[in-house]
């Protein structure tokens, strides 16, 4: 069915008062445009409004790598995907139910990459149909005809023309008009929407805020008078206060809350927005954001600050982490606390700067020359981004070592509501004891069992010593004897064992034993859990296990794996498929986590690793699980 709205903007004989509202429990909406047309602002606002109404949400930004890619370009499409549910939403979902496109080429880009529900409604700007350039008209008509032929519900709308009725520059305001339309179509609270628009433009003039409010209301009214469908997504009441943030905001809040006082960074996508947020507010808690001349300097400044008693964080993404690795070795060797956040993107090299990948796990664990034990954690949810930082800072100071927190592009820009953190003084570590030291105090007074030692901070009387990246003795002197290096390496390693003994075994989702166990880490948790839940409903014997500590790994993981007939890791990093050309058991390359698990537990862990640059969809996991289950039945 196709409904074409006439250019006058009215739908034939349409009476909005009698229209029925279809109630949904879960839906996926996308807005796509050329870069710079504000699709993301509209979509993030729509998501925030929904979250404030109590809905579960998940957003994924569709970001081109360039600031201004050529217009009307399928590969340069910019946009956003919003999944809204009655209950908590943990991933981007599968199929698009409604998409708004500012031009047909952006839409083509999505058609090539994303799954459209057969009943997907497409709202399409139709100014291209009458464009002076005949080639544009031809392109537009071709795509339009194709969509109609494929049976989609296409609503052609003179979006820019409609906006021009209200503002002098309609190009800039289309996004808020669309937000208004969506608010009507999904029965969103218009009052909340108005507040959200004012918040989104809070750095702009009142005139700009007013214009956007006019457009919001105009879009809402127009949809009411001209579109023949309407939904609601009733939210299940929640009895807890929540906050809704994206992952980078959660990281920034965590840094604020952790008591760290220095965030040294260098701009890099997709990590930078952590610092944007912090730069505005960090001074309120006595912190500073320092933008260094390069990634290496950022890490060095953090180490300097931390050495001087003010624990520091450096926030980066893959390429930046590569540059910092020599300094990570220094922090390990010199036993200086450091928190490093790696908001992963596609690699190697410049890779996929704006896209999703979990490719840095091994690079993070083994990131420097020599044996350099450090803690590696991965946030699985947006809420985790907040709490991981609190934990990381404490571990860094207690164990005197770098703690790496992995996030990724999926968490970075995705929004999700979660329980509002309740402030605790424990988040902030107590002041470091700065009293003069007893005679004979030494900087590396290693406990022979745990490798732990008490820090000495510059300024402390009686503690003067020289930190060095050279192998050193307990009193901080350069080590020249063979046993000195052997022992100090052992102590630094022993700290991980000590931490490992304090970690809780992660909980299995589903039965504790069965046919298939799906292992994951990081942002894929939501998609894996959803796939597993669906299949369990069908009665299939599948469970999942998600790891937050990757180095060290909690005890009990090996035992859990051994209780399943087959084990597979699902990860967003590259792996050879076992049936690939010239791939044999001897040359097959496994995904990051699978390799670690195989090495540590001697379990034949299978792997499903993909690098499409997209967040994981539950349906994809589901299909793979079915295939793996089938293999068990064949071999059994």
């Amino acid at each position: 069915m196709t409904t074409t709205v006439k250019e006058t903007g009215t739908l034939n004989g349409f009476d909005s008062t009698t229209r029925s509202i279809v109630s949904l429990t879960d839906t996926v909406v996308e807005i796509v445009s050329d870069a710079g047309e504000g699709a993301q602002k509209a979509g993030q606002s729509f998501a925030t409004i929904s979250a404030k109404m109590g809905n579960g949400i998940w957003t994924v930004e569709i970001i081109p790598a360039d600031i201004q890619p050529p217009p009307r370009n399928a590969a340069g499409a910019s946009g956003i995907r919003i999944r809204v549910g009655s209950k908590s939403v943990t991933n981007m979902g599968d199929k698009i139910d409604l998409i708004v496109a500012f031009n047909e080429q952006s839409l083509l880009g999505r058609l090539a990459q994303a799954n459209f529900d057969p009943n997907c409604r497409i709202i399409l700007e139709n100014k291209w149909r009458t464009h002076p350039d005949p080639s544009i008209v031809e392109d537009y008509t071709k795509v339009y005809d194709q969509l109609v032929e494929e049976g989609y519900n296409v609503y052609e709308i003179p979006l820019e023309e409609l906006c021009a009725e209200h503002v002098s520059n309609p190009k800039l305001g289309k996004n808020m008009y669309v937000l208004g339309m969506l608010c009507y179509l999904y029965s969103r609270d218009l009052g909340l929407a108005e507040k959200q628009v004012a918040e989104a433009f809070r750095h702009k003039s009142q005139k700009i805020i007013d214009n956007n409010l006019i457009l919001l209301n105009a879009g809402y009214t127009w949809a009411q008078g001209n579109l023949d469908f309407r939904y609601d997504i009733p939210a299940l009441d929640s009895d807890v206060d929540r906050i809704v943030t994206n992952g980078n905001q959660a990281l920034a809040l965590g840094i604020m809350a952790s008591g760290m006082e220095m965030c040294a960074m260098y701009p890099i996508t997709p990590a930078t927005s952590v610092s944007h947020f912090l730069a505005e507010v960090f001074e309120n808690v006595g912190g500073m954001v320092h933008q260094s001349e390069d990634e290496i300097a950022a890490c060095a400044v953090a180490i300097g600050s931390s050495y001087a008693g003010k624990c520091a964080v450096t926030v980066t993404s893959g390429p930046g982490m590569s540059l910092k690795t020599e300094l990570l070795g220094l922090a390990t060797m010199a036993e200086i606390p450091l928190v490093l956040v790696n908001v992963q993107r596609g690699g190697p090299s410049t890779g996929l700067p704006t896209k999703v990948e979990q490719g840095d796990l091994l690079a993070t664990i083994f990131s420097t020359h020599g044996d350099a034990p450090k803690v590696v954690m991965a946030a699985a949810t947006i809420e985790d981004c907040f709490y991981s930082i609190l934990t990381a800072r404490k571990l860094a100071e207690t164990f005197r070592m770098p703690v790496m927190v992995l996030s990724d592009a999926n968490l970075a820009t995705g929004q999700q509501p979660y329980p509002r953190p309740v402030f605790s003084q424990d988040w902030v570590a107590p002041p470091i004891d700065q009293r003069p030291l007893a005679e004979g105090s030494i900087p590396y007074d290693w406990d022979p069992r745990t490798g732990l030692s008490k820090r000495i901070i510059p300024g402390q009387k009686g503690g003067t010593f020289t930190v060095t990246g050279l192998a050193h003795t307990p009193d901080g002197k350069v080590a020249y004897g063979p046993m000195e290096n052997q022992k100090s390496m052992e102590y630094r390693s022993r700290k991980l064992a000590a931490l490992q003994q304090s970690l809780k075994t992660p909980e299995v989702t589903g039965d504790e034993e069965g046919d298939l166990l799906v292992l994951g880490w990081g942002s894929t948790k939501g998609a894996i859990d959803e796939a597993v839940a669906r299949l369990r409903k069908e009665g299939l014997s599948v469970s999942s296990l998600h790891l937050r500590f990757l180095q060290p790994m909690a005890s009990g993981i090996g035992d859990i794996m051994k209780r399943f007939k087959r084990v597979i890791s699902v990860e967003l990093n590259y792996a050879d498929e076992p049936d690939g050309d010239i791939i044999t058991e001897e040359n097959r390359r496994y995904s990051n986590l699978a390799l670690l698990l195989r090495a540590r537990y001697l379990v034949d862990v299978q792997t499903f690793g993909t690098v499409f640059g997209q967040p994981l969809r539950p349906r994809v996991v589901e299909e793979r699980i079915r295939q793996e289950l089938a293999k068990i039945n064949v071999t059994a």
């Binding site: 404030k52 929640s238 604020m256 050495y307 001087a308 003010k310 300094l327 002041p431 300024g459």
Partner: protein, 320 residues
């Protein structure tokens, strides 16, 4: 407030620090190495200024000269090749109470850490940086450094170095916010001490290049200056300690310099065959990044809580 208690005060008035308080292990530098003279000058400075040993931090990179902190009785940080400056910045940014010194070699400063050098000048943070310039890589056994003169045979340039050396003085004088540039030679301890003292007293980033002999790999490279005192151009300025009579009797090439004149400083730094020794340039009132970024107030737990709750409110979705 989390972290270090900066308000802690200790009464040092009864304590007098002697040279021994600034000494640590016996230096393992070669005999005749110019680094020894720099160490002596710096230990003297600490004693004369009565810097509490625990309040001084010497940060170094990698190379012979970067062993420096190990021989000081203060806090020290022997870091990575080229990275001394940003580590020192991290210390200074959050601990303004500490006196920060940086010791680098010519490879540290002008090769692997060049980006940090340029930016350290621009940050103009309160610290004293000493470049031990022996015009060669010593620790790795005689490779060309950016400051090695043209035509010198080294292990990586068996036919002689190909390029003119990098002039770190004129380069430094070309960077925005430069506020203190001096040149010294380790074999004139009187001027070396005076230059380091002025550098220490300077408000902002003091850049001191010390020309330093490597007796092992380039024993004769500075002979033209050692054999001919007239090739050494002593810079005096109105604020400096007057030259001793013995110094005057050897070094006749004395120039009255106005350190506020950057054009004159640049001209002095670009001379061939004559080496200026003393303060080339000094500016007052250049903004210091560490002061611009100093935390405006001590944050109480209540303030911390409020700041966080304000942010949570921004993102709040209330129950119901």
């Amino acid at each position: 407030m989390f972290g270090v208690n900066e308000t802690q005060t200790v009464d040092y008035s009864q304590e007098y620090y002697s040279l021994e308080d600034y000494q640590s292990s016996t230096p393992r530098w070669c005999s005749g190495c110019g680094d020894n003279a720099i160490l002596t000058a710096v230990q003297r400075l600490c004693r004369d200024e009565q810097i509490p040993p625990e309040k001084a931090v010497f940060v170094s990179g990698i190379g012979c000269s970067s062993r420096f902190p190990h021989y000081m009785g203060t806090y020290g940080f022997h870091s990575l090749h080229g990275r001394a400056l940003p580590i020192a910045q991290g210390v200074k940014l959050r601990r303004p109470d500490l006196k920060v010194f940086v010791n680098m070699g010519d490879g540290d400063c002008c090769s692997i850490g060049t980006a940090h050098w340029i930016h350290a000048i621009r940050y103009n943070m309160n610290m004293t940086a000493i470049v031990h310039d022996n015009e060669i890589y010593g620790m790795t056994k005689k490779q060309a450094s950016p400051t090695t003169p043209m035509g010198i045979v080294t292990n990586t340039t068996p036919k002689g170095t190909y390029m003119e050396p990098l002039n770190m003085l004129s380069a430094t004088l070309g960077i925005s916010n430069v506020s203190f540039v001096a040149n010294a030679v380790e074999w004139i301890p009187e001027v070396l001490y005076e230059v380091i003292r002025q550098a220490y007293l300077h408000q902002g980033f003091s850049f001191v290049r010390v020309v330093q002999r490597c007796p092992h790999f380039l024993p004769n490279i500075f002979d033209p200056f050692l054999r001919n005192p007239d090739a050494i151009q002593i810079l005096t300025n109105p604020g400096a300690t007057p030259m001793s009579d013995s110094l005057k009797s050897v070094y006749k090439n004395v120039v009255e310099n106005n350190p506020a004149d950057i054009n004159q400083a640049r001209e002095l730094s670009m001379q061939k065959d004559v080496m200026p020794v003393g303060i080339l340039y000094q500016a007052t009132g250049v903004p210091c990044y560490d002061e611009l970024r100093r935390a405006p107030r001590v944050v109480s737990m209540e303030m911390r809580k409020k700041a966080l709750e304000d942010q949570f409110n921004r993102f709040a979705v209330n129950a119901g």
